[in-house]
């Protein structure tokens, strides 16, 4: 039972990161209709910004988190302008390849600039322990969940309660119609990419002290994010959140009870199952093909 709970807790921590990463992915698809294969690289760059701020400039962790989010948010806007906009309206094949190219470019650029060697990011939170009954958890892990929860709440409030958020929801529903009623879709596109990138960056900075920061960390994370997004429904925000936790927990429980070798098999098998049975995801709606 103890193992179960330990693994469950670890799963929640991991799930938080997946949720953050997937939120951006799903929002970008929902509003821009673009499947961003480079989402993992935004996460990775966010982690590097965090590394630079914390390990080199010795800035406080939470402050570094905020700065990284802002920096990467701006970067996200640049990506939208130079990478996504030329791809809009093009068929899916082109769009996918375009973002794949971006992903290769960013990942290998990072290898060139930062070097391929993994880096350690130390924070004082890794050495403080929190006790929940018989389980002890480093403060850093608790922070991951806490910050994620806070960001999710903020995001939900933003989408539901503010005017901008309403505009975003309109664009997600129907981009052309939104443009007709006077919404500046370009601005919404930029905002979406800002948020999506900032969330990914947050994921990167939060996870950095737990694992190591390296240019290839985005790849694997991105694949898992795809699984989450399909599970939750492409374009579906609550789906991405719930999906993130489901996958994180499933992975860790598998590692704990079956073996750590097959833990990566689980998310992909879930994916194929979903695609066979309910491709629109747990929360998605079925959109019939128009002839």
């Amino acid at each position: 039972m103890n193992t179960f709970i330990s693994q469950l807790i670890n799963g929640v921590v991991l799930g938080s990161i997946y949720a953050l990463l997937s939120l951006g992915l799903t929002m970008i698809f929902g509003i821009l209709d673009i499947v961003n294969f480079a989402q993992g690289e935004l996460y990775m760059l966010g982690a590097y910004v965090g590394f630079f701020l914390i390990a080199v400039l010795h800035i406080n962790f939470l402050l570094a988190l905020v700065i990284s989010m802002i920096v990467m948010g701006v970067f996200g806007i640049l990506v939208e302008r130079f990478s996504f906009r030329p791809l809009m309206g093009k068929p899916h094949t082109s769009m996918i390849l375009g973002t794949v190219g971006l992903s290769i470019f960013l990942m290998n650029g990072a290898i060139l600039i930062f070097g391929a060697e993994p880096r350690r990011v130390g924070t004082p939170y890794s050495d403080i322990f929190v006790n929940l009954g018989p389980f002890s958890l480093s403060m850093q892990r608790v922070l991951v969940f806490a910050v994620t929860a806070a960001l999710i709440i903020l995001l939900t409030l933003f989408i539901q309660k503010t005017k901008m958020g309403k505009a975003m929801r309109a664009c997600a529903q129907d981009l052309t119609a939104a443009r007709i009623v006077g919404i500046d879709t370009n601005r919404i596109a930029m905002l979406t990419c800002f948020i999506g990138s900032a969330l990914a960056a947050a994921g990167g900075v939060l996870i950095a002290p737990l694992f190591l920061v390296s240019p290839v960390m985005g790849l694997k994370a991105c694949l898992k994010a795809f699984v989450v997004v399909i599970l939750g429904g492409l374009g579906n925000v609550p789906g991405a959140i719930v999906g993130g936790f489901i996958i994180g927990i499933a992975e860790n429980l598998t590692a704990g009870f079956i073996s750590s070798e097959v833990k990566d098999l689980i998310p992909f098998s879930i994916l194929i199952l979903i695609l066979l049975v309910k491709p629109e995801g747990l929360f998605g709606k079925y959109i019939p093909e128009k002839v």
């Binding site: 996918i96 190219g101 194929i272």
Partner: protein, 326 residues
């Protein structure tokens, strides 16, 4: 008159390239050159296969490396554990990959757009995980060293040793020619036309009576069979295989060759495979910058020249633009 001239120029070019390709190993001893040509040949098979699936039938598959790997592992293990002859292991490797291709084909039938792509990626990842984790069979990440070459044969006084690069080149060459011919006939046949119909507009094709299931599965089967053959050739040439060679990155590599070379034609894959293999080898000196440039080129090419350099059919520019939803 112009068209006539163009056609005979084309035939001349084809004949000339064939002759040059045949003669190369006889006039050079440069092992590095031969090595790169052999690798290019293997990639031609891979690209031809993906071209059938994507360029002709319009199904974007980012899991192609999985079938490459299945062919490689099947063939290697058959020779090493069950002592099959290479000449049996090779086709069985292809068949194994083909069957796996059917397994991907079935779920793929109902999916379109990003859902299809993600499904193929997941399939590729699962295959990769199996290569990595089924240690008792594949030795996992350590890979399988010591994969035997097809062997040595003597005809009278003449010895043919397949571990020699010159000999292996001819093996690959012959198989590539066969594959190209089969490809050519397939494309000209009723099946080929059905592929194009599906690619251009799936719903319309269905309406006019094209059996989607049959043709999509055929595309997957043929394309992955070729990948399996390529895998076997690779394994017995290099002598070592590991899961690292069969990742999403490799699938992307092959896809780029299809795109750059030109989809929906026969010469496109050749151009893409050989050109990119040589280009990447040459850029080895700039290894650090190579992949960065690669990514940049991909991004630019997609926007500027979407049907590839030798693309014969305007498959991307026309028709598949998103319909306005007013």
């Amino acid at each position: 008159m112009m068209k006539q001239k163009f056609k005979s120029a084309k035939t001349f070019l084809i004949a000339a390239s064939l002759i040059i390709a045949f003669v190369i190993p006889l006039i050079t001893e440069n092992e590095y050159y031969l090595h790169t040509l052999i690798i290019s040949g293997i990639y031609i098979l891979l690209v031809l296969g993906l071209n059938l699936i994507l360029g002709y039938a319009g199904q974007l598959s980012l899991g192609h490396a999985a079938f490459y790997g299945i062919g490689a592992y099947t063939s290697a293990l058959l020779m090493m554990k069950l002592h099959f002859s290479f000449w049996l292991a090779l086709p069985i490797g292809g068949i194994a990959a083909g069957i796996a291709g059917l397994m991907l084909g079935f779920p793929a039938l109902r999916l379109k757009g990003p859902y299809l792509v993600i499904c193929t990626i997941a399939f590729g990842e699962i295959a990769h995980q199996i290569f990595m984790n089924w240690e008792s069979l594949t030795r996992g990440p350590m890979g399988i060293p010591g994969v035997p070459s097809p062997g040595e044969f003597s005809i009278g006084n003449f010895v043919i040793d397949f571990s020699e690069k010159q000999v292996y080149y001819y093996l690959v060459f012959i198989i590539v020619i066969i594959a190209l011919l089969l490809n050519y006939f397939l494309v000209r046949s009723k099946t080929g036309r059905a592929f194009v119909a599906i690619r251009e507009d799936q719903t319309a094709a269905e309406v006019i009576g094209v059996n989607l299931t049959f043709y999509k599965l055929t595309a997957f089967l043929s394309g992955t069979f070729l990948a399996g053959i390529a895998g076997s050739l690779y394994a017995h040439y290099i002598g070592f295989i590991s899961p690292e060679s069969f990742t999403l990155g490799e699938s992307i590599n092959i896809l780029v060759m299809v795109i750059v070379g030109g989809m929906g034609t026969i010469i496109g894959p050749i151009f893409g495979a050989v050109g990119l293999t040589f280009l990447l080898e040459l850029m080895r000196a700039f290894a650090d910058y190579r992949m960065v440039i690669y990514g940049l080129v991909l991004m630019i090419l997609i926007v500027v020249l979407p049907e590839g350099t030798m693309g014969g059919i305007d498959i991307l520019r026309r028709n598949l633009k998103k319909p306005q939803k007013i």
